[in-house]
Each structure stands twice: as C-alpha cells, then as structure tokens.
C-alpha cells in the first residue's frame, strides 16, 4: 500500500496487517541482536575510556596530561564523523574481521566505533559529578586508586551512569536503523527496501511503530532503574 494511491487512514489500517508483521519478525530479531551486542560492547569500552578520561584529568586521581589530551583528541575525532560516514569508513575494517562488509555483525563494528566515544563522554561527565569530598574521604582512609574507582566512583555515580547509558542505547537503536541502508539487515533495512524503494508505506509505518516502542521501552527501563537506586539510597 502506498500513500500515492491510498488514503492515509487506509495505509495506517494496512500497517497492522498480519503478513507485514510476519515479514518484520526476523528483522526485529536482527535489530534486537545488533542493539544488544553493540550496547554491551559500548558499555564495556565506553566505561573504560570514560574512566580513563576522568582519572587522567589534570585534577583527577592520576593526572597524566599526555594520555588525557591524547584520548580526548581521538574521541573528539571519532565523534566529529557523522554516523553514515563512520559506517562507510568501517566497511574495510568489517571485511578484515568478518570477511564481508555487510550483514548484522559487520555493522556492529561501525556502531561501536561511533557510539563508544559518545558513551565515553557521557561516562566522563557522570563521573566528574561526584562530590570531591567523597574521593578525598576515600583517600584519607587509605584507599588505592583502583579501590576508589570501583568501590566509590562507579557505585556513587551509578544512577547517572545508567541515565547516560540509556541515552547511548537509544543512539545505538537509531544507528542500527541507519545501518540498514548499508546492508546491515534489521528494521532499518526493511524500512529502506520496502518503505523507500517500493513505496510500501504500510510497511514503513510498521517499522516506525517498532522503533518508537523500542526507544520508549529503553528510556522507561533506564529511568526506572536509576530512580529505584536513588529511592533506595533515600536521595529522592
């Protein structure tokens, strides 16, 4: 069904047709797979980079100017590339790792390269929020730097880290949709092939519903988790 020859209302009604959703099912699976795997990679490496930035900051636990400036510069470079260009740039890298430049796994590399630096910055700003006094107290007790990072810094800023992760996962979702354009599969791929190339607007609408629900769900879970922690700690 196309908006070119069918009224909007009919297209909307058509977008709930079972055969459309049957076709979308594997795509939803692919998208969830890409989002989950990319988010996990982003969480681990983003946390690591964010901690590195915070700790090596001139006012941080272990000031290391060269490392701080260097990693900050690399992150800024990666962040200045639009997501689409990052996908194109990562095509040869994906071929190196997986032997092919298309498909679900290949796109995870591009998503990671684009979203890790962003999440690293979010982690950095969360970690910098911690009251200086808490770190000072931990130092006065005789904590090592590793103990301060894992026993104080991360637990104390957990609600904020979770909120940042929520924002980042939503960025990952939007990027998986874009990667569909470049043969990544998933919902984005369906939207492009049917909605854009074949004017099947009922299919396009169906992909929009899925993306909206997915983003709402992630945001809700993130807000809920962060709020529960604050509530438990009697901070709200």
């Amino acid at each position: 069904m196309s908006l070119l020859d069918t009224p909007l209302w009919e297209v909307i009604k058509g977008s709930f047709a079972p055969e459309i959703w049957q076709r979308l099912k594997p795509a939803i699976g692919e998208t969830l797979y890409m989002v989950t795997l990319s988010s996990i990679i982003m969480l681990v490496l983003g946390l690591f980079l964010g901690i590195l930035l915070t700790v090596t900051n001139p006012d941080g636990l272990i000031p290391m100017k060269i490392l701080y400036t260097g990693s900050g510069w690399v992150i800024n470079c990666l962040r200045s590339l639009p997501q689409m260009i990052m996908i194109i740039l990562m095509i040869p890298v994906a071929r190196l790792f997986f032997g092919k430049s298309y498909g679900v796994n290949a796109c995870i590399i591009a998503i990671a390269a684009s979203c890790i630096p962003m999440y690293a910055r979010l982690v950095e700003s969360s970690l910098l929020e911690i009251a200086k006094g808490k770190v000072e107290a931990a130092r006065s007790i005789g904590s090592t730097n590793i103990q301060i990072i894992f026993r104080i810094l991360i637990p104390e800023t957990a609600p904020s880290l979770i909120r940042g992760f929520t924002v980042a996962v939503i960025a990952v979702i939007s990027m998986t949709a874009l990667a569909g354009m470049f043969g990544a599969g998933g919902i984005g791929d369906i939207a492009v092939r049917f909605g854009y190339q074949r004017f099947q607007h009922d299919v396009l609408f169906a992909t929009v519903y899925i993306l909206i629900i997915l983003v709402q769900l992630v945001q809700w879970i993130g807000n809920f988790a962060s709020k529960q922690i604050l509530k438990k700690r009697n901070l709200i």
């Binding site: 009251a131 006094g133 000072e136 107290a137 007790i141 026993r151 637990p155 700690r233």
Partner: protein, 262 residues
C-alpha cells in the same frame, strides 16, 4: 612531660593558580601531645584545612617536616603512605559519606579495603556503631539521616580501624548548636576512653573552648599563638582575644549595615 605525638616544623605550602601564587602556609611549627585534644582556630583562608590535609598528605607541602608518632610522613613511599593513612582517621564538615553504601558498609569500608576477615569486620563495626550511638541505623542509607547522625557515621568510619590520631576538619561547622554540642561531647568521650589524639580544625571559638586542652591560632598562614585553652582565654592581652574581639566588632558592623542588628 608528655610525648610529642605530632611534630610539624617549618612547613611551607604555596598554591599556584591562574591568578598568581597563593602562600597558604608560611613556616608552621607545631607540637601536639599524645592523647590531647588540640584545637587550631583561624578565619577562613587562614590555611587551617591545608594544614590538616598536609598531616595525612592529602596535600603535599613544599618544604618542612611532619612527624606523626615518630613516622616521617613526607618521606613515606606511596604504599607506606596508604598504610599510614589507615592509622589516621579524618572527619569532614560535609561528612563525605558514601551514599551508595548503607551505614554499616560505610563504617566497614576502611576494614574492607584492608582485607580484614568478615567476622572481624562485623565485630568492629558493631562495636564502633555502639560507641557513636548508631545501632538502630546500620541498615539505613546516609541520605535518610540527619546532619548529626551523618557526622556520627563519619566518626565511626574514621574510628573503626583503631587509629591513633583523628583529624577533624570543621566537623561541627555544618551542624546546629545542639547537635554540635552532642558531637563535641562524643569526641571528648572517645578521647577519654580510647586515648586517641584529636586535632580539631575549626573557626568556632566555642567549640575549641568546650573541647580542647591546648590550641593554636592560625592567621594568614602563620601560627601567632599557642598555649593551653585556659591561658589563652583568660588572658585579656592575648592576641587571640583581640582578634576575636575584632571579629565580633566586624560582625556587629556588618549586621548593622544589613539593618538587622544583633
């Protein structure tokens, strides 16, 4: 004659900022005896906090020497410093509790990082919580406590590893008068029962008068007077007396300018 427990000599510290350098400590000499409560009073900016932070090397002074219980603090290696810090408790104006941990875990933290066995941690935490009167709050989070209760947690956390010295950096300055009195009483009681040496940094004259045995007055990075609290307060010619008389006048003038009066 009592032992000199803390011995500071010719301590200098300068901060270098964007708007030039700030000479915070200008040759501090100070001796604190074992088991006494020693007060350091001064206005904000006098260098009190910096001085306290030099003692456990949260700040590194430019020159001079600090000995605590015979240990030369400034020559310790990083590893030795961590171990030495575990023998020096510190409490703060802003409490600085760990909000992600329950009261129990806050108090237990210094022992956890020293790899003390769990049952020993439990015994020490309960003992210390009993001492500061927090037995009914062990499972609460600091976020739900009053200021006085928070500072009790701070004190318990500082005391749980049986330190020989407690540094108190404006510990009562954020508390109301009644709570201040309770906390000061607690510090006095702990000093009596455990013999711990307490170095109390404050700008509150009353807190010093109520708690301390001896005191030093810090003005503009220098100690201008040292002696027993009684001597300093009873001598109308002491410089401290004149300084705080001056403060009082300034305060009166400021409040008159604001139209509120005293």
């Amino acid at each position: 004659m009592m032992d000199a427990y803390i011995q500071i000599s010719d301590l200098h510290k300068t901060y270098h900022t964007h708007n030039g350098s700030l000479n915070v400590l200008k040759g501090i000499n100070l001796t604190v005896h074992k088991g006494e409560i020693f007060g350091i009073i001064g206005f904000s900016g006098a260098g009190k906090s910096t001085l306290a932070r030099c003692i456990n090397r949260l700040e590194v002074p430019d020159s001079g020497s600090i000995r605590v219980g015979g240990v030369d603090i400034l020559s310790l290696s990083k590893k030795e410093l961590l171990l030495e810090r575990r023998k020096i408790g510190m409490i703060f104006q802003t409490f600085n509790l760990f909000e992600a941990k329950t009261v129990y875990r806050n108090i237990a933290y210094p022992l956890e990082i020293s790899r003390v066995p769990q049952n020993e941690i439990r015994r020490r935490v309960l003992e210390t919580a009993e001492l500061v009167g927090l037995m009914d709050k062990l499972n609460a989070y600091p976020g739900g406590l009053s200021g006085g209760q928070k500072q009790r947690v701070g004190i318990a956390r500082a005391l749980v590893s049986n330190p020989d010295l407690l540094l108190s950096d404006e510990a009562t300055s954020a508390l109301d008068p009644q709570t201040t009195l309770q906390i000061l009483d607690l510090l006095k009681q702990i000093n009596r029962t455990t013999g711990i040496t307490i170095l109390m940094i404050t700008h509150e004259l009353d807190a010093i008068r109520y708690t301390c045995d001896r005191m030093a007055v810090l003005e503009d990075g220098q100690i201008i007077e040292t002696g027993s609290v009684r001597d300093i307060f009873n001598n109308p010619l002491s410089r401290t007396g004149s300084i705080f008389a001056r403060v009082y006048t300034e305060f009166q003038r400021a409040s008159e300018e604001n139209g509120s009066g005293i």
